[in-house]
Symmetry: C2
Subunit: 300 residues, 2 copies
């Protein structure tokens, strides 16, 4: 089954202690869509400007991503984010954000997107996530990601969103911000009360904690020797997770834990290159081999 992915389609200029990379393909939807594409057909919803390089469109196409929902705004500028990572690669600082065409983006879904069974509302403004949600018909499973910005400036809409989704994915600092608890067990319980039956708290290099009707599940990150650029790893994680889920038959809760492991491994590749450079060079075979390594890493 297919996954509809909405989120930002951006150009990212990323500085780390080791290198500088201008105008890479980035954005939550780009990372999530490419990650999901290893497992299932993907329909992308996003907007770009005239300045969006043709080679990035080709890159989506090579991953079989349906681009009917990608608006190309004449005279518009693509969303551009620039940021810098500190030495330990865990702390990120935004240097500049130019919203461009994202600012007035209110997509109307193409007809054949409306009945997508798996909906991934990757990080973008919650009003836009809600706007997309209003247009889908009988979705089977809805996941949403967010970021600290929306918790700060659009909390009411985030709260509305939480009542309408199945799975909420957020990182540990956002979980603490949203629930005012620095204890992850308590924070998760409070998030469940806000709506979603399924919650995943991402902890970066320390893995992820899932909670759902089948209890909690804790998974480490895949240990990497060379972390080049963690930008988009969280989006790749949830993209891989949703793609894997969409590829499974039967009740969702039966596959969710293994989907989290697939998301973890897909996200690990993302960290090994700038932007999407590494992720777009791998195949499902690379992922499956690393899944086997992961199985061996946690088995006892």
């Amino acid at each position: 089954m297919s996954v509809l992915v909405v989120g930002t389609t951006a150009l990212d200029s990323i500085r780390t202690p080791k290198a500088e990379n201008p105008r890479l393909l980035g954005g939550s939807a780009s990372h999530a869509a490419v990650a999901a594409s290893f497992f299932a057909p993907v329909k992308l919803v996003g907007a770009v400007g005239d300045d969006f390089p043709r080679r990035y469109v080709s890159l989506y196409e090579r991953h079989g991503i349906d681009l009917e929902g990608l608006q190309r705004v004449k005279g518009g500028k693509t969303f551009h984010w620039s940021g810098e990572y500190e030495v330990n690669m865990n702390n990120r600082q935004t240097l500049n954000t130019e919203l461009g065409v994202i600012e007035h983006f209110t997509p109307t879904l193409p007809k054949n997107y409306e009945r997508s069974p798996y909906i991934l509302l990757a990080n973008i403004s919650p009003s836009l996530q809600l706007h997309v949600l209003d247009q889908v018909k009988k979705p089977k499973f809805i996941a949403a990601d967010s970021m600290d910005l929306w918790l700060n400036i659009a909390l009411d809409e985030v709260m509305k969103l939480l009542k309408r989704i199945d799975l909420f994915v957020l990182n540990d600092s956002e979980a603490h911000q949203l629930t005012e608890s620095d204890n992850i067990v308590k924070a998760i319980r409070r998030i469940h009360k806000m709506g979603p039956r399924f919650v995943i708290v991402k902890k970066g290099e320390h893995g992820a904690v899932y909670s759902g009707p089948d209890g909690m599940f804790i998974t480490p990150a895949f240990p990497l020797q060379n972390v080049v650029d963690p930008t988009g790893a969280g989006d790749s994680f949830v993209g891989g997770l949703m793609g894997y889920l969409a590829s499974c038959k039967g009740p969702i809760h039966r596959h969710l834990r293994r989907a989290i492991v697939h998301g973890t491994v897909t996200g690990s590749f993302c960290c090994e290159g700038f932007g999407l450079k590494r992720t777009t060079k791998i195949t499902r075979g690379h992922i499956d081999r690393r899944i086997k390594e992961f199985d061996a890493l946690v088995k006892y």
Copy 2:
């Protein structure tokens, strides 16, 4: 089989954002010995002064700990540590350290300690750890813990120690300090080169990473709703691990991963009370039940 535990036997005065607790039973050997005692007979090597409360001796005795190697120094003062935890319970600050009888402690092992098969050199000066190691005969498995202090002031002796032990246990910041690498995979590889075949890097609430001849193993911490006081959790971890190993038959590498899980769970109880308050109230049954919960938390 039995575990010989050497380390500090101390009085700990612990301040946290929520409470203050003066002169609790503490020290690396106390935590490790009590944790190991749930699984195997324990022989304690340590030194205390006249001021060491009789009720703490009884507490060791209730756990069946052999105290022949516990020196009671007339006119001496027990090692006293006082410290303070910050709000998130992960950062600890030492307020005061009075070495007392530990300062000139050079134990001669009781005759029936010499052939202990499992040796746990819990955190104490590396010269003392080496001094104990010189006296044991044909040990089956030697584990050592350390702390940042010894890496700072006695690195040469730590390096000597590393060549003579099987398992080195340290926390992530110490691993970075020792290897000058902030990447855990690289740090572990460097520590192997310093001597030990088995390495465990403890990451507090984020679990632990093991590396040995059978590859790597990554385990989360047991998620707790109420962390009261993490002092001694690392000592309980390695104590539980060594106690469990000593209770197993056959090659060590076959049991090490499960031993790490037992250490993890034993250490989790330690965090739920001040000093040894919670750990000394549980039984093997509590541990086994939490092991089952842990199994469910990581299974997929």
